[in-house]
């Protein structure tokens, strides 16, 4: 008798009875999504830039000046090996959507060819379309299909408060994060 069988058999014998799964209602969300999204991110030590589409390139240029940059926006980037990856100073990627209530941005395998990049970089830059902003996590999970091999909601630069509850930005992941909200 395998452990699997033993565990499942035991559960079958003792599991309680209950009703159906509840329906999740549509909760009210903020009317000014960009405002709420920006506020959530700024409260979490993220720099937010609102930019027209034609100006995004310029902003990215300024953010990447002189730094070891990997851009997820261009398909021609070759992914270097671990030791070189560890020297990434700026990583730029698109985000699939952004959530107003907490500033979380969804990034997945389809957007980042190497999963470690958003974490190993010193400075993370994410570009999100304003039209891709939603109000809360329920709406976000409706829009994302669990198809990619890996996806992550990123809501700010790496942080910890494990030393006497003092907030320190930049634990193991990025020390800095910038979000560009593309407005048209």
């Amino acid at each position: 008798m395998s452990s699997r069988t033993n565990i499942l058999d035991r559960i079958k014998k003792v599991k309680p009875i209950t009703g159906d799964l509840p329906q999740i209602p549509d909760f009210q969300v903020a009317t000014d999504l960009v405002g709420q999204f920006t506020k959530s991110l700024e409260a979490n030590h993220v720099t937010v830039i609102q930019s027209a589409a034609r100006d995004v390139e310029q902003h990215l240029g300024e953010l990447s000046k002189g730094n070891h940059v990997i851009s997820g926006l261009s398909n021609t980037t070759d992914i270097p090996e671990k030791k070189v990856l560890a020297q990434t100073e700026v990583f730029i990627t698109r985000g699939k959507l952004g959530v107003g209530e907490n500033g979380a941005i969804w990034v997945d395998d389809s957007l980042i060819r190497e999963r470690v990049l958003p974490f190993i970089t010193l400075h993370l830059v994410v570009v999100v379309y304003q039209k891709d902003l939603v109000g809360n996590m329920h709406q976000a999970y409706k829009k994302i299909r669990p198809e990619a091999g890996f996806g992550v909601f990123i809501a700010g630069p790496s942080k910890t408060a494990d030393i006497e509850q003092s907030l320190v930005i930049g634990a193991h992941g990025p020390k800095e994060m910038t979000v560009i909200v593309e407005t048209d």
Partner: protein
């Protein structure tokens, strides 16, 4: 040792107790501010509670669904009936890969199974990468809180530890400086890791994927660089559908630390090309707890720690007073299920104020279960003889109006006239830390007869 005995030792340092108390209450206050910002907060709690009820009632079906989908995506699924089997499975995977460097992100399940000890005996060194866990690892202590592992330590202590282990400047206790030192030290480990072990916050049955939440990004730094990812999951961590993550991701971080979401909420479906991904499903007493009508709801726990932050006992006695991997109110209803003899004092480490139940995001009736465990402890005659005797005597007196009248009068006379030393003797457990109330001149009965009849 009982909780009361350990707590007495903790309380000797009054200043530290006050600091520990204030720090944890501050985390509770952050939770309140955050939850009050969501008009539908109570509705979310109710939804989460009902979803988890459904999980327990269909646990076997959800686990099978989860396993089928996960395997189809290339995740290797293992089942462990107990801690020993879990540890064996993990060490076999590590051994097969001849791994030298192992990193682990926060997993209370692996603490419960004492995985680090087991691996160390097998000759494998595990580096805990969550900063709080690395700190207690250096100190050779277990975590004292399930979310804030080093909450009991002051920065001076941490500075000394880092000086000894990392060669940081002696006396420099600046959190930014110390965190940077840890960052550099652990980054080396991440780059060298052969195996990365993580816990699991949620396993999604209809998609076969699982979610890991961190603020530091340490789980991701480990798994995205290592060729092998081992995820350890208690069987009760399952949730039925992808859409349910909306409910739980809105509740978890707000309940735990007051933040609207952790910085990283990572969803794993398929291994990275070329990577091996393993998931170990662990029972270790969970199916036993499921069979207990009065206590099965403790399995709804999502390990947020809110009950600990609010509990006046936990705040003033610290995690180590409980002597169990999961301390605080939730630990006190889970651990007696694992070992009643060892943890019999835990259900009594409570005033039954019910604050824990108020803050629990999945609405576990923690305070009621604490009371029920007391009945079990007394029923098994695990409580101490003197307590049983005094309760018996008190029961006889309170049940008999004549006896109550007589002994009440004698007690009032004694309290008014006996010398202090006689009243606050060794047998007076109540009087050890409190003043007894001032005895009135007459009982209510006597006053009523005089004034109202």
């Amino acid at each position: 040792m009982s909780h009361a005995e350990r707590a007495q030792a903790f309380l000797k340092d009054e200043a530290k107790t006050d600091w520990h108390n204030e720090t944890l209450w501050w985390v509770r206050e952050k939770r309140d501010r955050s939850s009050k910002g969501i008009p539908e907060w109570e509705e979310l709690r109710q939804l989460a509670s009902e979803i988890k009820d459904h999980v327990l009632a269909n646990l076997d079906d959800y686990l099978v669904e989860f396993e089928t989908k996960a395997k189809a995506n290339g995740i290797q699924v293992h089942w462990a009936e107990n801690a020993e089997e879990h540890n064996r499975i993990v060490s076999e995977i590590i051994d097969r890969h001849q791994a030298k460097n192992i990193v682990k992100s926060k997993s209370i399940l692996t603490e419960e199974c004492h995985l680090n000890d087991h691996l160390s005996k097998q000759g494998f060194e595990v580096v805990d990468t969550d900063l709080g866990e690395r700190i207690v690892q250096f100190a050779k202590q277990p975590p004292s809180h399930i979310v804030l592992p080093a909450i009991h330590m002051k920065k001076q202590e941490i500075s000394t530890l880092f000086h000894d282990h990392l060669g940081t400047e002696a006396g420099n206790d600046d959190p930014v400086y110390l965190t940077q030192a840890a960052r550099n030290h652990l980054r080396e480990r991440f780059l060298l890791a052969d195996v990365a072990i993580t816990g699991v916050n949620f396993g999604i049955a209809d998609s076969g994927g699982f979610v890991v939440c961190t603020n530091e990004g340490n789980a991701d730094m480990g798994v995205h660089l290592a060729p092998v990812h081992i995820a350890c999951m208690g069987i009760e961590k399952i949730i039925p559908k992808w859409e349910h993550l909306g409910v739980f991701t809105r509740l978890l971080a707000r309940s735990a630390t007051g933040q609207p979401i952790t910085n990283y909420t990572s969803h794993f479906f398929k291994p990275r090309p070329g990577q091996e991904m393993h998931l170990v499903l662990v029972d270790n007493g969970r199916t036993e707890q499921l069979s207990r009508e009065k206590f099965k709801d403790s399995l709804k726990c999502i390990r947020c720690g809110a009950c600990m932050n609010t509990c006046p006992i936990y705040r003033r006695s610290g995690g180590y007073s409980y002597g169990s991997t999961v301390p605080g109110p939730i630990g006190s209803i889970l651990s007696p299920g694992l070992d009643l003899k060892k943890h019999k004092s835990l259900p009594f480490a409570s005033t039954l104020c019910g604050s824990c139940s108020d803050v629990c995001p999945v609405k576990i009736n923690i305070h009621e279960q604490l009371y029920e465990w007391r009945q079990v402890v007394a029923g098994e005659k695990e409580d101490n003889f003197f307590k049983r005797l005094s309760m018996k005597i008190a029961g006889k007196i309170l049940a008999n109006p004549k006896k109550l009248k007589k002994w009440g009068r004698l007690a009032r006379i004694a309290l008014r006239n006996f010398p202090r030393m006689l009243i606050y003797n060794g047998l007076n457990a109540w009087g050890k830390g409190r003043e007894l109330p001032v005895p009135p001149k007459e009982s209510f009965n006597e006053w009523y007869k005089k004034n109202r009849s």
